[in-house]
Protein backbone atom coordinates (compact mmCIF):
# COMPACT_ATOMS: atom_id res chain seq x y z
CA UNK A 1 0.00 0.00 0.00
CA UNK A 2 1.23 3.48 -0.87
CA UNK A 3 0.88 5.93 2.00
CA UNK A 4 0.75 9.70 1.85
CA UNK A 5 3.25 11.68 3.86
CA UNK A 6 3.97 15.31 4.68
CA UNK A 7 3.06 17.83 1.99
CA UNK A 8 0.54 15.42 0.50
CA UNK A 9 3.39 13.57 -1.22
CA UNK A 10 3.92 9.80 -1.27
CA UNK A 11 5.67 8.52 1.83
CA UNK A 12 9.34 8.08 0.95
CA UNK A 13 10.72 4.55 1.30
CA UNK A 14 14.18 4.07 -0.06
CA UNK A 15 15.19 0.76 1.47
CA UNK A 16 16.51 -2.32 -0.29
CA UNK A 17 15.38 -5.20 1.88
CA UNK A 18 16.64 -7.99 -0.36
CA UNK A 19 20.21 -8.72 0.72
CA UNK A 20 21.30 -10.25 -2.58
CA UNK A 21 20.01 -7.24 -4.46
CA UNK A 22 21.70 -4.90 -1.96
CA UNK A 23 25.01 -6.69 -2.42
CA UNK A 24 24.69 -6.39 -6.19
CA UNK A 25 23.89 -2.67 -5.97
CA UNK A 26 26.88 -1.82 -3.76
CA UNK A 27 29.42 -3.92 -5.66
CA UNK A 28 32.33 -1.78 -6.78
CA UNK A 29 31.20 1.44 -5.05
CA UNK A 30 33.66 3.69 -3.28
CA UNK A 31 33.08 3.48 0.47
CA UNK A 32 33.06 6.19 3.07
CA UNK A 33 32.35 5.88 6.81
CA UNK A 34 29.38 7.89 8.16
CA UNK A 35 29.42 9.51 11.60
CA UNK A 36 26.74 8.51 14.11
CA UNK A 37 24.94 11.79 13.39
CA UNK A 38 24.93 11.25 9.63
CA UNK A 39 24.05 7.55 9.89
CA UNK A 40 21.08 8.40 12.12
CA UNK A 41 19.80 10.89 9.60
CA UNK A 42 20.40 8.61 6.60
CA UNK A 43 18.22 5.99 8.31
CA UNK A 44 15.55 8.62 9.00
CA UNK A 45 15.54 9.73 5.37
CA UNK A 46 15.38 6.22 3.93
CA UNK A 47 12.41 5.09 6.02
CA UNK A 48 10.49 8.28 5.25
CA UNK A 49 10.53 9.90 8.69
CA UNK A 50 11.52 13.05 6.78
CA UNK A 51 9.26 12.60 3.73
CA UNK A 52 9.18 14.10 1.13
CA UNK A 53 12.97 14.47 1.45
CA UNK A 54 14.71 11.64 -0.41
CA UNK A 55 18.25 12.46 0.53
CA UNK A 56 20.56 14.96 2.16
CA UNK A 57 19.50 18.45 1.13
CA UNK A 58 21.05 20.44 -1.70
CA UNK A 59 21.94 24.08 -1.33
CA UNK A 60 18.77 25.54 -2.83
CA UNK A 61 16.60 23.56 -0.39
CA UNK A 62 18.81 24.53 2.55
CA UNK A 63 18.52 28.15 1.52
CA UNK A 64 14.70 28.16 1.26
CA UNK A 65 14.49 26.13 4.49
CA UNK A 66 16.54 28.76 6.30
CA UNK A 67 15.02 31.84 4.73
CA UNK A 68 11.39 30.84 4.10
CA UNK A 69 10.90 27.68 6.16
CA UNK A 70 10.04 25.69 3.07
CA UNK A 71 11.62 23.47 0.42
CA UNK A 72 12.13 24.81 -3.09
CA UNK A 73 8.82 23.21 -4.11
CA UNK A 74 6.97 25.12 -1.40
CA UNK A 75 6.58 22.24 1.10
CA UNK A 76 6.92 23.46 4.71
CA UNK A 77 10.35 22.55 6.08
CA UNK A 78 12.06 24.00 9.14
CA UNK A 79 15.39 22.29 9.84
CA UNK A 80 18.12 21.61 7.26
CA UNK A 81 19.02 17.94 6.91
CA UNK A 82 22.60 18.17 5.70
CA UNK A 83 25.63 15.93 5.24
CA UNK A 84 28.80 17.70 6.28
CA UNK A 85 32.26 16.80 5.00
CA UNK A 86 35.75 18.28 4.94
CA UNK A 87 37.90 19.06 1.90
CA UNK A 88 40.39 16.51 3.19
CA UNK A 89 37.73 13.80 3.19
CA UNK A 90 36.54 14.79 -0.28
CA UNK A 91 40.13 14.34 -1.49
CA UNK A 92 40.71 11.19 0.56
CA UNK A 93 37.64 9.42 -0.85
CA UNK A 94 37.99 11.02 -4.28
CA UNK A 95 34.40 12.31 -4.23
CA UNK A 96 32.89 14.18 -7.12
CA UNK A 97 29.44 15.14 -8.30
CA UNK A 98 27.78 12.21 -10.05
CA UNK A 99 29.42 9.58 -7.83
CA UNK A 100 27.45 7.01 -5.91
CA UNK A 101 29.25 6.05 -2.72
CA UNK A 102 28.56 3.44 -0.11
CA UNK A 103 28.21 4.92 3.36
CA UNK A 104 29.37 2.53 6.05
CA UNK A 105 28.69 2.46 9.78
CA UNK A 106 30.31 0.19 12.36
CA UNK A 107 32.48 -0.84 9.39
CA UNK A 108 29.49 -2.35 7.57
CA UNK A 109 27.45 -1.22 4.55
CA UNK A 110 24.69 1.23 5.45
CA UNK A 111 23.40 3.21 2.47
CA UNK A 112 24.09 4.31 -1.07
CA UNK A 113 24.59 8.07 -1.34
CA UNK A 114 24.18 9.55 -4.84
CA UNK A 115 26.24 12.72 -4.70
CA UNK A 116 24.39 15.33 -6.75
CA UNK A 117 26.01 18.43 -5.32
CA UNK A 118 29.02 19.53 -3.28
CA UNK A 119 28.54 22.99 -1.76
CA UNK A 120 29.35 25.43 1.01
CA UNK A 121 26.90 27.29 3.21
CA UNK A 122 27.42 30.13 5.68
CA UNK A 123 27.03 28.39 9.03
CA UNK A 124 26.41 31.58 11.02
CA UNK A 125 23.56 32.56 8.79
CA UNK A 126 22.16 29.00 8.98
CA UNK A 127 22.29 29.19 12.79
CA UNK A 128 20.64 32.59 12.92
CA UNK A 129 17.80 31.52 10.61
CA UNK A 130 17.09 28.17 12.24
CA UNK A 131 17.77 28.93 15.90
CA UNK A 132 17.24 32.67 16.01
CA UNK A 133 20.67 33.13 17.57
CA UNK A 134 24.35 32.86 16.74
CA UNK A 135 25.37 32.02 20.30
CA UNK A 136 27.50 28.92 20.43
CA UNK A 137 26.15 27.93 23.83
CA UNK A 138 22.86 27.04 22.13
CA UNK A 139 23.32 23.28 21.48
CA UNK A 140 21.79 23.47 17.98
CA UNK A 141 24.03 26.37 17.04
CA UNK A 142 27.01 24.47 18.41
CA UNK A 143 26.13 21.48 16.24
CA UNK A 144 25.86 23.81 13.23
CA UNK A 145 29.27 25.40 13.91
CA UNK A 146 30.77 21.93 14.33
CA UNK A 147 29.74 20.98 10.80
CA UNK A 148 32.73 20.55 8.52
CA UNK A 149 33.19 23.15 5.78
CA UNK A 150 31.44 21.47 2.85
CA UNK A 151 28.13 19.71 2.37
CA UNK A 152 27.05 16.84 0.11
CA UNK A 153 23.56 16.78 -1.32
CA UNK A 154 21.82 13.82 -2.94
CA UNK A 155 19.59 10.78 -2.58
CA UNK A 156 19.99 8.07 0.04
CA UNK A 157 19.08 4.41 -0.32
CA UNK A 158 19.39 2.18 2.74
CA UNK A 159 20.97 -1.16 1.88
CA UNK A 160 21.22 -2.59 5.37
CA UNK A 161 18.59 -2.06 8.04
CA UNK A 162 19.71 -1.06 11.53
CA UNK A 163 19.63 -3.53 14.38
CA UNK A 164 18.03 -1.87 17.37
CA UNK A 165 19.29 -3.14 20.71
CA UNK A 166 17.33 -4.05 23.84
CA UNK A 167 15.33 -2.63 25.50
CA UNK A 168 14.51 -0.46 22.46
CA UNK A 169 13.86 -3.28 19.96
CA UNK A 170 10.06 -3.45 20.20
CA UNK A 171 9.70 0.32 20.21
CA UNK A 172 11.36 1.13 16.91
CA UNK A 173 8.79 1.23 14.12
CA UNK A 174 9.23 2.75 10.68
CA UNK A 175 6.54 5.12 9.37
CA UNK A 176 5.04 2.24 7.36
CA UNK A 177 4.99 0.01 10.45
CA UNK A 178 3.37 2.77 12.49
CA UNK A 179 0.57 3.02 9.96
CA UNK A 180 0.09 -0.73 9.87
CA UNK A 181 -0.19 -0.78 13.68
CA UNK A 182 -2.77 2.02 13.63
CA UNK A 183 -4.81 0.14 11.02
CA UNK A 184 -4.75 -2.99 13.23
CA UNK A 185 -5.98 -0.93 16.15
CA UNK A 186 -8.66 0.79 14.07
CA UNK A 187 -7.40 4.12 15.29
CA UNK A 188 -8.82 7.00 13.29
CA UNK A 189 -7.63 9.87 15.44
CA UNK A 190 -4.16 9.59 16.85
CA UNK A 191 -2.53 12.25 18.93
CA UNK A 192 1.24 12.51 19.24
CA UNK A 193 2.95 13.11 22.53
CA UNK A 194 6.52 14.19 21.92
CA UNK A 195 8.83 13.28 24.78
CA UNK A 196 12.34 13.08 26.11
CA UNK A 197 11.12 12.75 29.68
CA UNK A 198 10.23 10.23 32.31
CA UNK A 199 6.55 11.05 32.92
CA UNK A 200 5.23 12.69 36.07
CA UNK A 201 1.49 13.10 36.39
CA UNK A 202 1.70 16.60 34.85
CA UNK A 203 2.88 14.91 31.64
CA UNK A 204 0.22 12.24 32.01
CA UNK A 205 -2.44 14.96 32.10
CA UNK A 206 -1.01 16.70 29.04
CA UNK A 207 -1.60 13.44 27.18
CA UNK A 208 -5.08 12.98 28.59
CA UNK A 209 -5.95 16.59 27.82
CA UNK A 210 -4.81 16.18 24.20
CA UNK A 211 -6.58 12.83 23.85
CA UNK A 212 -9.86 14.26 25.11
CA UNK A 213 -9.52 17.29 22.85
CA UNK A 214 -8.72 15.16 19.76
CA UNK A 215 -11.53 12.71 20.49
CA UNK A 216 -14.02 15.45 21.34
CA UNK A 217 -16.23 15.27 18.25
CA UNK A 218 -16.20 11.46 17.90
CA UNK A 219 -18.84 9.05 19.15
CA UNK A 220 -18.08 7.91 22.70
CA UNK A 221 -19.64 4.44 22.50
CA UNK A 222 -16.48 2.87 21.18
CA UNK A 223 -14.61 4.07 24.24
CA UNK A 224 -16.93 2.21 26.59
CA UNK A 225 -15.67 -1.15 25.49
CA UNK A 226 -12.08 -2.20 25.88
CA UNK A 227 -10.59 -2.91 22.48
CA UNK A 228 -13.02 -0.71 20.58
CA UNK A 229 -11.34 2.67 20.91
CA UNK A 230 -11.04 4.62 17.69
CA UNK A 231 -8.68 7.24 19.06
CA UNK A 232 -5.22 6.70 20.46
CA UNK A 233 -2.25 8.40 22.05
CA UNK A 234 1.11 7.71 20.46
CA UNK A 235 3.98 8.52 22.80
CA UNK A 236 6.85 8.97 20.38
CA UNK A 237 10.13 9.17 22.31
CA UNK A 238 13.02 10.96 20.68
CA UNK A 239 16.14 8.82 20.94
CA UNK A 240 19.43 10.35 19.90
CA UNK A 241 22.32 12.51 21.03
CA UNK A 242 22.31 12.99 24.80
CA UNK A 243 23.56 15.65 27.16
CA UNK A 244 24.79 15.08 30.70
CA UNK A 245 21.82 15.41 33.06
CA UNK A 246 19.18 14.21 30.52
CA UNK A 247 17.18 11.14 31.47
CA UNK A 248 18.71 8.04 29.90
CA UNK A 249 16.68 6.89 26.86
CA UNK A 250 16.08 3.45 28.37
CA UNK A 251 14.33 5.02 31.38
CA UNK A 252 12.24 7.28 29.14
CA UNK A 253 10.93 4.55 26.85
CA UNK A 254 10.32 2.01 29.62
CA UNK A 255 8.56 4.41 32.01
CA UNK A 256 6.30 5.80 29.30
CA UNK A 257 5.31 2.24 28.48
CA UNK A 258 4.75 1.50 32.17
CA UNK A 259 1.91 4.04 32.28
CA UNK A 260 -0.08 1.73 30.04
CA UNK A 261 1.17 -1.51 31.60
CA UNK A 262 0.02 -0.24 35.00
CA UNK A 263 -3.35 0.80 33.64
CA UNK A 264 -3.03 4.59 33.84
CA UNK A 265 -3.91 4.38 30.17
CA UNK A 266 -6.08 1.64 28.79
CA UNK A 267 -4.20 -0.87 26.64
CA UNK A 268 -6.17 -0.01 23.49
CA UNK A 269 -5.73 3.76 23.60
CA UNK A 270 -2.01 4.15 24.25
CA UNK A 271 1.17 3.07 22.54
CA UNK A 272 4.86 3.94 22.88
CA UNK A 273 7.34 4.07 20.02
CA UNK A 274 10.58 5.89 19.36
CA UNK A 275 12.14 7.91 16.58
CA UNK A 276 15.86 8.38 16.06
CA UNK A 277 16.50 12.08 16.00
CA UNK A 278 19.17 14.28 17.57
CA UNK A 279 17.35 17.08 19.34
CA UNK A 280 18.37 20.47 17.96
CA UNK A 281 16.51 22.45 20.64
CA UNK A 282 15.26 24.74 17.88
CA UNK A 283 12.07 25.52 19.84
CA UNK A 284 9.39 26.73 17.39
CA UNK A 285 11.16 25.42 14.28
CA UNK A 286 11.72 22.09 15.96
CA UNK A 287 8.01 21.96 16.80
CA UNK A 288 7.31 22.27 13.07
CA UNK A 289 9.84 19.53 12.36
CA UNK A 290 8.22 17.26 14.96
CA UNK A 291 4.85 17.91 13.28
CA UNK A 292 6.35 16.83 9.96
CA UNK A 293 7.79 13.61 11.40
CA UNK A 294 4.49 12.76 13.12
CA UNK A 295 2.53 13.49 9.94
CA UNK A 296 4.76 10.94 8.25
CA UNK A 297 4.03 8.43 11.01
CA UNK A 298 0.35 8.80 10.12
CA UNK A 299 -0.84 10.80 13.10
CA UNK A 300 -3.76 13.21 12.95
CA UNK A 301 -3.09 15.39 16.01
CA UNK A 302 -0.02 16.64 17.89
CA UNK A 303 0.10 17.90 21.46
CA UNK A 304 2.22 20.97 22.07
CA UNK A 305 2.84 22.08 25.63
CA UNK A 306 5.05 24.69 27.19
CA UNK A 307 8.62 25.29 25.96
CA UNK A 308 8.36 22.72 23.19
CA UNK A 309 11.89 21.60 22.22
CA UNK A 310 13.35 24.75 23.70
CA UNK A 311 16.53 25.36 25.64
CA UNK A 312 17.64 28.08 28.04
CA UNK A 313 15.77 31.33 27.52
CA UNK A 314 16.03 31.49 23.71
CA UNK A 315 12.29 31.09 23.09
CA UNK A 316 9.14 32.21 24.87
CA UNK A 317 7.14 29.48 26.58
CA UNK A 318 4.52 29.37 23.84
CA UNK A 319 6.50 30.63 20.84
CA UNK A 320 6.18 27.21 19.17
CA UNK A 321 2.38 27.53 19.33
CA UNK A 322 2.51 30.89 17.61
CA UNK A 323 4.73 29.68 14.76
CA UNK A 324 2.46 26.66 14.20
CA UNK A 325 -0.61 28.91 14.18
CA UNK A 326 0.96 31.00 11.41
CA UNK A 327 1.17 28.00 9.05
CA UNK A 328 -1.85 27.56 6.75
CA UNK A 329 -3.79 24.36 7.60
CA UNK A 330 -3.40 22.87 4.15
CA UNK A 331 0.40 23.07 4.44
CA UNK A 332 0.72 20.95 7.58
CA UNK A 333 -1.60 17.98 7.64
CA UNK A 334 -1.71 17.41 11.39
CA UNK A 335 -3.87 19.30 13.87
CA UNK A 336 -1.91 20.86 16.70
CA UNK A 337 -3.44 20.70 20.17
CA UNK A 338 -2.14 23.48 22.35
CA UNK A 339 -2.06 22.65 26.00
CA UNK A 340 -1.37 24.78 29.05
CA UNK A 341 0.61 23.50 31.97
CA UNK A 342 -0.93 21.21 34.58
CA UNK A 343 -0.01 21.60 38.24
CA UNK A 344 -0.96 20.33 41.67
CA UNK A 345 -3.47 22.51 43.52
CA UNK A 346 -3.59 21.79 47.27
CA UNK A 347 -6.89 23.66 47.47
CA UNK A 348 -8.59 21.49 44.83
CA UNK A 349 -6.62 18.50 46.10
CA UNK A 350 -5.83 17.43 42.56
CA UNK A 351 -3.66 17.89 39.53
CA UNK A 352 -5.36 20.52 37.41
CA UNK A 353 -4.83 22.71 34.38
CA UNK A 354 -3.47 26.07 35.51
CA UNK A 355 -5.92 27.73 33.14
CA UNK A 356 -8.91 26.21 34.95
CA UNK A 357 -8.24 26.55 38.65
CA UNK A 358 -8.49 29.94 40.36
CA UNK A 359 -6.10 29.20 43.26
CA UNK A 360 -3.11 30.63 41.46
CA UNK A 361 -1.18 31.56 44.57
CA UNK A 362 -1.43 28.04 45.97
CA UNK A 363 -0.48 26.07 42.85
CA UNK A 364 2.52 23.74 43.17
CA UNK A 365 4.05 23.54 39.72
CA UNK A 366 5.83 20.47 38.45
CA UNK A 367 9.36 21.59 37.96
CA UNK A 368 11.54 19.14 36.07
CA UNK A 369 14.41 20.07 38.36
CA UNK A 370 12.38 19.36 41.47
CA UNK A 371 11.30 15.96 40.21
CA UNK A 372 14.90 15.12 39.30
CA UNK A 373 15.99 16.16 42.77
CA UNK A 374 13.37 13.84 44.33
CA UNK A 375 14.50 10.95 42.16
CA UNK A 376 18.16 11.58 42.94
CA UNK A 377 17.32 11.51 46.65
CA UNK A 378 15.66 8.14 45.99
CA UNK A 379 12.47 9.24 47.72
CA UNK A 380 9.32 7.69 46.34
CA UNK A 381 7.05 10.61 45.41
CA UNK A 382 3.33 10.76 46.25
CA UNK A 383 1.27 8.90 43.65
CA UNK A 384 -0.62 12.04 42.67
CA UNK A 385 2.64 13.47 41.41
CA UNK A 386 4.53 10.49 40.13
CA UNK A 387 3.20 6.96 39.71
CA UNK A 388 4.87 4.44 42.04
CA UNK A 389 5.23 1.89 39.23
CA UNK A 390 6.98 4.52 37.12
CA UNK A 391 9.32 5.29 39.99
CA UNK A 392 10.21 1.59 40.32
CA UNK A 393 10.97 1.37 36.60
CA UNK A 394 13.19 4.47 36.83
CA UNK A 395 15.17 2.86 39.63
CA UNK A 396 15.46 -0.45 37.74
CA UNK A 397 16.56 1.29 34.54
CA UNK A 398 19.11 3.25 36.50
CA UNK A 399 20.72 0.03 37.76
CA UNK A 400 20.36 -1.97 34.57
CA UNK A 401 21.29 0.63 31.96
CA UNK A 402 22.43 3.83 33.65
CA UNK A 403 25.46 2.66 35.68
CA UNK A 404 23.53 3.56 38.84
CA UNK A 405 21.99 6.80 37.58
CA UNK A 406 18.73 7.46 35.73
CA UNK A 407 20.42 10.55 34.31
CA UNK A 408 23.09 10.67 31.64
CA UNK A 409 26.57 10.85 33.16
CA UNK A 410 30.02 10.99 31.55
CA UNK A 411 30.24 7.27 32.27
CA UNK A 412 26.99 6.63 30.40
CA UNK A 413 28.18 8.70 27.44
CA UNK A 414 31.39 6.67 27.29
CA UNK A 415 30.07 3.19 28.03
CA UNK A 416 26.42 2.91 26.95
CA UNK A 417 26.00 1.03 23.68
CA UNK A 418 24.41 3.03 20.84
CA UNK A 419 20.69 2.33 20.39
CA UNK A 420 21.28 0.87 16.94
CA UNK A 421 24.08 -0.91 15.15
CA UNK A 422 24.74 -1.95 11.59
CA UNK A 423 25.65 -5.62 11.20
CA UNK A 424 27.55 -7.19 8.30
CA UNK A 425 25.34 -7.44 5.21
Amino acid sequence: MQYTGHGGKPLVERVITDKAEAKKKIAGLKTMPASRQMATEAIGIAYGFFSPIEGFMKKADVETTCKKMELTDGTIWSIPIVYDISDAEIAQYGLKVGDSVLLTYDGNPLAIFDIEEIYTYDKESMAQDVYGTKEEKHPGVKRTYNYKDKFLGGKITLVNEPKVREPFTPYFLTPRQHRQKFAEKNWIKIVAHQTRNVPHSGHEWLMKHAYIAAHGDSPVEQMETMGKAISGILVNCIVGEKRVGDYIDEAIVLTQDELRKSGYFRADIHMVTMTFWDMRYAGPREAVHHSIIRTNLGLTHHMFGRDHAGVGTYYHSYQAHHLLMSIPKEKLNITPIYVLEWAYCPHCGEVTCIGLCGHWKELQKFSGTKIRSIIMDEVKPTRLIFRPEVFDVVMEASKKYGFGSPFVTQEYLQKAKPAFSIEPL
Partner: protein, 101 residues
Protein backbone atom coordinates in the same frame (compact mmCIF):
# COMPACT_ATOMS: atom_id res chain seq x y z
CA UNK B 1 19.69 35.78 56.12
CA UNK B 2 18.14 37.93 53.40
CA UNK B 3 18.51 35.79 50.30
CA UNK B 4 19.39 32.14 50.59
CA UNK B 5 20.50 29.59 48.04
CA UNK B 6 19.15 26.45 49.66
CA UNK B 7 19.79 22.75 49.28
CA UNK B 8 16.54 20.76 49.13
CA UNK B 9 16.69 17.39 50.83
CA UNK B 10 13.61 15.30 50.08
CA UNK B 11 12.41 13.24 53.01
CA UNK B 12 11.00 9.73 52.87
CA UNK B 13 8.54 8.33 55.37
CA UNK B 14 11.17 6.75 57.59
CA UNK B 15 13.11 9.97 57.92
CA UNK B 16 9.89 11.92 58.37
CA UNK B 17 9.01 9.80 61.38
CA UNK B 18 12.43 10.14 62.95
CA UNK B 19 12.42 13.91 62.42
CA UNK B 20 8.99 14.09 64.06
CA UNK B 21 10.18 12.02 66.99
CA UNK B 22 13.18 14.29 67.44
CA UNK B 23 10.84 17.29 67.46
CA UNK B 24 12.29 18.54 64.19
CA UNK B 25 9.10 18.22 62.15
CA UNK B 26 8.78 22.00 62.10
CA UNK B 27 11.89 22.24 59.92
CA UNK B 28 10.05 20.55 57.07
CA UNK B 29 8.09 22.17 54.29
CA UNK B 30 5.36 20.50 52.23
CA UNK B 31 5.51 20.49 48.46
CA UNK B 32 3.95 18.62 45.55
CA UNK B 33 0.91 17.01 47.10
CA UNK B 34 2.34 16.45 50.54
CA UNK B 35 5.96 15.57 49.89
CA UNK B 36 8.27 16.69 52.67
CA UNK B 37 11.41 18.64 52.03
CA UNK B 38 14.13 19.86 54.34
CA UNK B 39 15.33 23.20 53.04
CA UNK B 40 18.87 23.83 54.22
CA UNK B 41 19.78 27.48 53.67
CA UNK B 42 23.14 28.58 52.26
CA UNK B 43 24.61 32.05 51.96
CA UNK B 44 26.06 33.15 48.63
CA UNK B 45 29.57 32.29 49.91
CA UNK B 46 28.48 28.85 51.11
CA UNK B 47 26.76 28.23 47.77
CA UNK B 48 29.89 29.09 45.81
CA UNK B 49 31.96 26.87 48.08
CA UNK B 50 29.55 23.93 47.65
CA UNK B 51 29.57 24.34 43.86
CA UNK B 52 33.35 24.40 43.92
CA UNK B 53 33.64 21.32 46.14
CA UNK B 54 31.03 19.40 44.13
CA UNK B 55 31.43 20.32 40.48
CA UNK B 56 28.51 18.09 39.41
CA UNK B 57 26.12 20.34 41.35
CA UNK B 58 24.41 23.34 39.78
CA UNK B 59 22.66 26.39 41.09
CA UNK B 60 19.28 26.49 39.38
CA UNK B 61 18.65 30.20 39.05
CA UNK B 62 15.78 29.80 36.59
CA UNK B 63 13.17 27.65 38.30
CA UNK B 64 13.85 26.38 41.82
CA UNK B 65 16.46 28.91 42.93
CA UNK B 66 18.28 26.18 44.81
CA UNK B 67 21.46 24.12 44.62
CA UNK B 68 20.59 20.97 42.68
CA UNK B 69 22.17 17.73 41.44
CA UNK B 70 24.13 17.03 44.62
CA UNK B 71 24.66 13.28 44.95
CA UNK B 72 22.52 11.45 47.47
CA UNK B 73 25.42 10.59 49.73
CA UNK B 74 26.41 14.24 50.03
CA UNK B 75 22.87 15.18 50.96
CA UNK B 76 22.79 12.26 53.42
CA UNK B 77 25.78 13.77 55.21
CA UNK B 78 24.08 17.16 55.42
CA UNK B 79 20.90 15.51 56.66
CA UNK B 80 22.80 13.68 59.40
CA UNK B 81 24.36 16.94 60.55
CA UNK B 82 20.95 18.65 60.73
CA UNK B 83 19.60 15.83 62.88
CA UNK B 84 22.65 15.82 65.16
CA UNK B 85 22.68 19.59 65.61
CA UNK B 86 18.87 19.86 65.63
CA UNK B 87 19.29 22.94 63.44
CA UNK B 88 19.43 23.90 59.79
CA UNK B 89 22.50 26.02 60.39
CA UNK B 90 25.02 23.36 59.39
CA UNK B 91 26.63 24.49 56.15
CA UNK B 92 29.78 26.01 57.66
CA UNK B 93 30.42 22.83 59.62
CA UNK B 94 29.68 20.72 56.55
CA UNK B 95 32.06 22.68 54.32
CA UNK B 96 34.81 22.46 56.95
CA UNK B 97 34.29 18.71 57.21
CA UNK B 98 34.57 18.24 53.43
CA UNK B 99 37.61 20.48 53.17
CA UNK B 100 39.38 18.45 55.86
CA UNK B 101 38.68 15.47 53.62
Amino acid sequence: MAETYPINIWINEERFNSLQNAGLGKLLKEELAGMKVLIVPCTAEQRDKVLQLFPMAKYDAATTKSIELLPKKVKDQIYDMVVKKKSLDVMDDFIKLVEKG
